[in-house]
Amino acid sequence: MTATTPTTPTTGLDAHLVVDRGGFNLDLCLAAAPGDVVALLGPNGAGKTTALRALAGLTPLSAGHLCLDGAELDGTPPEARPVGVVFQDYLLFPHLTALDNVAFGPRCHGMPKAAARAHAADWLNRMGLADHAGAKPRRLSGGQAQRVALARALATHPRLLLLDEPLAALDARTRLDVRAELRRHLAAFEAVAVLVTHDPLDAMVLADRLVVVEGGRVVQEGTPADIARHPRTDYIASLVGLNLYQGRADGHAVRLDAGPHITTTEDLTGPVFVAFPPSAVTLHRDRPDSSARNAWQGEITGLESHGDQIRVDLTGELPLTADLTTAAVAELGLHTGASVWATVKAAQTHAYPA
């Protein structure tokens, strides 16, 4: 990568977004190269949408900077930014046809009417929507509206494409198709794409890199696989379905902040995370024999059907979640309030530095 100044890359996105809004404070750094698809993943209220609005110029920055392809955009009004946005509920102009919705951007950028409409027709064609060019938004299905919104955002050739919960407004079946299709379009997009979602599956399918945001801060970033294997917060762990604990390692033994010790196969020292999947947990009515080193007593607080498994929530020495077969639950006679022992084999735990 060549750079005119040591700190500012000439291509891609380099942003430090600070938004102070009475009680809520967003402060996150975001960098991406052209062709990258970055997902901002986080629970509701984490500040993802605020970050997106700040990138689009719809919410002013309180501090920080926003650099796109070497140009400072902070202070530039939204209409002058080379940014395209796909809004959560698409916000297609209801009084315009699909074609005129897509032609709106090029028209605003000074393209003559006929050329803009030809350009828009081309985009709709690419999205497989040539037949719906004359339809008003209310006559489009959710999936079609999503593609029109994407075409509309792309028709101005943005250098930064922003997508706010792009699949949230769709029903489960359409979602599957649209997700695959959106992935194709994003993969083909040559500039930076940033999408916001609270759905880990959407994030992992669509993005090359995840930025997990909680409480207005980046808590973890990396590739989807990396984040799924090494979650660093309870939120991420529960998203990817892992039991996660923090503690201090001394060799194979980790003293957890929650109290008990856990034995792992990794040999580490210092602060660590320990994670294990719910399926690695075995439950017993009586105290297991001494060969199991990771054994804790607890009480069942909840039983819930989870696919063909039953998910069991435990409190006690070590709060955890276990997945059991229906047969095992019946055999053990488990019920809410029952006292049980939980064991986990060291080989099925995974420790990594915090």
Partner: protein, 282 residues
């Protein structure tokens, strides 16, 4: 929209119903009696107008030159006043709904003042502002030779002064109800605020603007006090229908009734045009 509202209105008493139900029970006399009296009070004058109308001589009355003159002048002035209200009032409504500036609430209150101000007072105020010796009128007269009082343009000014607040309030309400995020979407597509207003907001609020315009037009058509005070009562120049009715009542009551019928017909047409918007409200 209308059938939905009707359903809601109907189903509400039913869902609350206990025994005979609130919607269907007999109304208590202390409420029923004044209610019926009130209804009669509102309807009887209109019926009287129809009963006493000189139906036989009506065609002749309505084709007289004076009636046509007054009707034509009324329609032209009311339409011009509505046009003025649209050109000035829609941007004013946008300013009130979409921007924040110090004293915005105060400005909004001042805009609505002509709604409650006695029209005659409005006429006096207009004279003091735009009269030949008025605060602005003196300057208009000396710099441009423009005189507004007692001219047809003066009628338009008086009517616009009284009618514009109706339009501003109506359009402001529609703007507030409209989703401002469409304007944000337009901005991200490269539209300036004015382009977004022209190509997105205005088409979206068009029904509200139309309703406001009809309301303003009806108000302008019936305007009496401000008009007679500011523009006078010159047949063919400033004598609009309401003025003509008032004057005719003293010399030729049959003509006054005929003119009133025309205005009644116009009012009913306006109400019919707006029924979806206002009559549907429960």
């Amino acid at each position: 929209m209308k059938p939905v509202t009707a359903e809601v209105v109907e189903s509400r008493p039913r869902s609350r119903a206990r025994g005979r139900g609130r919607g269907r029970g007999r109304a208590p006399l202390p409420l029923l009696l004044p209610a019926l009296l009130g209804l009669a009070f509102l309807l009887v004058p209109l019926v009287a107008l129809l009963v006493r109308a000189p139906w036989r001589s009506l065609p002749q009355q309505l084709t007289s030159t004076e009636v046509w003159q007054a009707l034509r002048l009324s329609l032209v002035c009311a339409t011009a006043a509505t046009a003025v209200s649209l050109v000035l009032g829609v941007p004013l409504a946008w300013l009130l709904a979409r921007t924040s500036f110090p004293g915005r609430r105060m400005v909004r209150a001042l805009v609505t003042l002509p709604l409650v101000l006695p029209p005659v007072v409005g006429g006096v105020a207009l004279l003091l502002a735009l009269g030949r010796n008025g605060v602005v009128g003196r300057w208009l007269d000396s710099a441009f030779g423009i005189t507004l009082p007692f001219t047809t343009a003066g009628v338009v000014v008086a009517e616009a002064f009284v009618a514009m607040p109706f339009l501003v309030i109506s359009v402001e309400g529609t703007l507030r109800a409209a989703d401002a995020r469409y304007e944000e979407a337009a901005a991200t597509l490269g539209a300036s605020r004015f382009t977004a207003f022209r190509r997105v907001t205005l088409p979206l609020i068009a029904p509200g603007v139309a309703a406001g315009a009809v309301l303003a037009w009806a108000r302008a058509l019936g305007e009496f006090g401000a008009t007679i005070t500011f523009a006078g009562n010159f047949p063919g120049r400033t004598q609009t229908m309401p003025l003509s009715v008032y004057l005719a009542l003293q010399s030729d009551p049959a003509a006054a009734i005929a003119l009133s019928l025309v205005l009644l017909a116009v009012s009913i047409a306006v109400l019919a045009g707006l029924r979806d918007r206002w009559m549907a409200a429960p």
